[in-house]
Symmetry: C3
Subunit: 138 residues, 3 copies
Amino acid sequence: MRQSMHVLRTHPNRRGLSEITESVRGWVSKQGISQGMLTLFCRHTSASLLIQENAARAVRNDLEKFFDELAPEGANYEHDDEGPDDMPAHLKTALTQVQLNVPVMGGKLMLGTWQGIYLFEHRAHPSPREIVLHLVGE
Amino acid sequence: MRQSMHVLRTHPNRRGLSEITESVRGWVSKQGISQGMLTLFCRHTSASLLIQENAARAVRNDLEKFFDELAPEGANYEHDDEGPDDMPAHLKTALTQVQLNVPVMGGKLMLGTWQGIYLFEHRAHPSPREIVLHLVGE
Amino acid sequence: MRQSMHVLRTHPNRRGLSEITESVRGWVSKQGISQGMLTLFCRHTSASLLIQENAARAVRNDLEKFFDELAPEGANYEHDDEGPDDMPAHLKTALTQVQLNVPVMGGKLMLGTWQGIYLFEHRAHPSPREIVLHLVGE
């Protein structure tokens, strides 16, 4: 058993879901670990991680719209120092999550046919984001 | 330290919460690992995993009703190719999660007294589902 | 590779978010593991774990208020044996989560600058809570 760790840096150009499956898969394929567990960890409180449908773009549009309506801008938030998208970003992060696990078998991510890994950016003007990748296995 | 992996196959006969604790516990007990970490991963985008109250059936009824109302059928979704339960299923999966961790100590799952592990099926006419189990420890 | 496990016991004195980062960091720093993965697991169905903003108190107020409104007391729940805060507590737990992963590098938690680890207590009169900490690495 051994482990490998990496910090994936990405700069989303818009709010919403950006697929990172290929970057993750590329790093995993170079670690020489055929069976194990991958963990992803997003080091932010206004962006999160989500495994979701990778085929229909409409699913992602509906997901973004749903979370925009569930945690709307302009509600009467106590915290609005950084603009109207600030507190909704924290709420959306809390409703999804900042870490994911994906098993690895035969050197491949055990994602289902329709599953992709997404960074879910919640700020209107995104900053660079860091996602820690950790793989343990053999 | 060593690891063990298995794909649990299950076919829910209805929408909602189906307990899988006993199937998971049975597999864990046969791996000869007394201390470690179990990870479960659901390979789907319209079914999720949840650890919740295993005593009162009413809790599960209220949970199912709550998510049905939070992500209702018949909202004005862009994506409805597979019927009115399709997009609500993706939303409920995003609001819960497709992976869980449960520590193992003394060969037993460290679940609390009232915790059970559930597959949360979100489609009206469920397909067979695959849940990857991964155990690392010694 | 080796692992270490501990049960952190805490008794929140109120409903809402209580930071546990320092307790977790203290335990991790004594395990002699410089690189690895920490997993936290909350053994309850009416309290959860959340990684969120550790600076502005207003963010936590807004988070608590948001979840109070999303899963309100007094809705027409089937399950109300243990009082009006019982079923909302289960719903809030389901909407957040009972487990977290945090990578460890150089002996330190890889939390982002603004990230703290919180126990999210959902009962009005909290009981003692148990959080399992598991660290694997080298």
